[in-house]
Symmetry: C2
């Protein structure tokens, strides 16, 4: 089964400590909101969906054994603690969105006189747990849709009725360690493997934080998938000689026209894929597609501190005094993207706005 | 002035210890062949031309104060010690070529009865020192030819009579630390700066050995050139937003058709440059152009140990158990190369064979 970065049962939560990866695999028990705040703040859990889910679940395990005298006191507890959790990493917008949703639910339940305090607690726990389940279910759907699209593309391109096992490339970490489980782009890889259609997966190191070498490689080794690490500089050489069927990456934000902001290096891989005629897919849940943003030109790219580039841990690897340019993300124009893989299907960038609008209206 | 990695005067040789860079700048005294063998073997000096020159000069400083009873004993000393120096890094072919040249010279001088033992020693020292001077002179010519070509290209492309200062990108280390001094691709950058035509130079980190971050960045900081380090994954984003006038890289080997083997990542940069319409130059002395190799398909690419990718020093950065693909070089097809900058001029890849053949016939 796929790596479990979040282990949850009602009343019990454990997370894989990502600060110790890839060398040590150790689960931390999260007993409540204080623990939740700490593991988010110290980045022992990372990845936008994972942060939100761990935060909310830390409140669920805290509330589970407690008795509340009134719905008002439960509501206050929920609101206060969720807002506190948002403060652990203020830039992680998913935690804020999830907190707001749950606070709205708590307010609604408080107002509904038909609901008892015990029922309110129960429904709050259900809603929190549903977030975990929905994220995994969405990722599984993304995986299935993506694997199908890649295999159909290969079958069509090679003129065979059914494609054989394929080689794919992915970038950064989009797996169990970045989501509630299974993963987005890495979910597509997992699904190919489940279908016995994964010949090999290549993952890039993903400087400067090495999420590929540390986290994706860790997941692939853990699950014994046929995998090889390459450096970010090797993608062109790889596509030239290794017969790669597709590139599949995640997304931080997809604009209405299909332009996609993702981890630095994604745009370069897309350019190189285009040059070699290799299809380039973006795997993203609907929540990452923002129809309010007309195009990638409107996405502001965070530029991060030089030290991430000049040091590995405490070890200096760059000449003292050199300036650095350290954009955390880049924007891949829609024209380089073959398809955007969502839990509801795979869309051409040009069709994205219409298709997503239809889905949202359902 | 440009960084001096090799300080030589007759009877005295010092080299900058590259193992301590970029954090510590310390010169080592090389007193003779034993020291020469050690600094090459321990990689305190690196870069093919630099290795050959330091090896030969270490023999020159050893022989300089010695008295020889006969030309035969001098010849034996030269041959024995040069062959010993070749053993310090057997794969560094330049040391072998230089050793063979000097041994041939020693044999010829031994046979020539008109030459005394004192004259033979003098002519041997002169020949050794000429190698140092020729490498620097060739690099200066490469720098001048390359800077001119880049500026003319910009003037033509923008329709101005004289190009203003330009931004360029380079990869790996091709500077004073890889050559006898000045550098090839970095020599072009130095020349642009001497002409007050360098607005900015960007250098790539160049994983896995980080020659860009450690060595090129060190040289650029040392000479106070306006410079910024980028990661290997950022080239496409850089070319998209930073108005780069040209890419200039070095070469390990250029085939007769212009296909060029160079540090891994070069091919990817060439693809990305083509996509953005940025001219892509290879700077290489004639000695790196091998007309015996018809095309890049005939160049064997060394695949190096996984550990270079999985560790930084003793620090593990990749998940234990992951496979790696670690080609040291890649081949950039001639079709992606705007011009090959040599000490005799800048040639289109398609014209290379004819032009070089002409030069060799002169």
């Amino acid at each position: 089964m796929s790596l479990q970065s979040i282990k949850y049962q009602r009343g019990s939560l454990e997370i894989l400590d990502q600060l110790l990866l890839p060398v040590v695999s150790k689960y931390l028990t999260v007993r409540g909101v204080e623990d939740g705040w700490k593991v988010i703040n110290k980045m022992q859990v990372r990845g936008a969906p994972a942060i939100a889910i761990v935060g909310c679940l830390s409140l669920a395990v805290e509330i589970y054994p407690e008795e509340f005298g009134s719905k008002k006191s439960l509501r206050q507890e929920i609101e206060g603690k969720l807002n506190y959790l948002v403060s652990a990493r203020p830039t992680a917008v998913n935690m804020k969105i999830s907190a707001d949703e749950l606070i709205t639910l708590a307010n609604d339940l408080t107002k509904d006189d038909a609901v008892t305090v015990a029922e309110m607690k129960q429904r709050f726990l259900n809603a929190t747990e549903a977030m975990l389940e929905k994220d995994i279910a969405d990722n599984r759907a993304i995986g299935a849709n993506g694997a199908k699209a890649i295999l159909e593309h290969v079958a069509e391109a090679t003129g065979v009725p059914v494609a054989g096992p394929v080689r794919v490339l992915t970038h950064c970490n989009t797996g169990s360690l970045a989501t509630a489980g299974y993963g987005t782009a890495l979910g597509v890889v997992r699904r190919l493997s489940e279908l016995s259609k994964l010949e090999h997966v290549y993952c890039t190191e993903t400087r400067p934080y090495n999420q590929g070498a540390r986290l994706t490689a860790y997941e692939l080794v853990h699950e014994k998938l046929p995998a090889t690490l390459v450096l970010d500089s090797m993608v062109a050489a790889l596509l030239r000689v290794k017969n790669i069927a597709a590139v599949v990456v995640g997304a931080d934000r997809v604009a209405a026209n299909g332009d996609t902001a993702n981890k630095i290096g994604t745009y370069q891989i897309a350019v190189v894929a285009k040059h070699h005629g290799v299809p380039f897919y973006v795997a993203a849940p609907l929540t990452s597609i923002d129809l309010q943003i007309p195009s990638g030109d409107h996405i502001i790219i965070e530029v991060r501190p030089d030290r991430e580039m000049t040091h590995v841990g405490e070890h200096r690897i760059a000449a003292p005094g050199i300036n650095c340019w350290n954009p955390a993300f880049d924007v891949t124009p829609a024209s380089l993207i073959t398809g955007i893989i969502t839990e509801h299907g795979v869309f051409k960038p040009s069709a994205l706005k219409v298709e997503i609008t239809k889905l949202l209206e359902l």
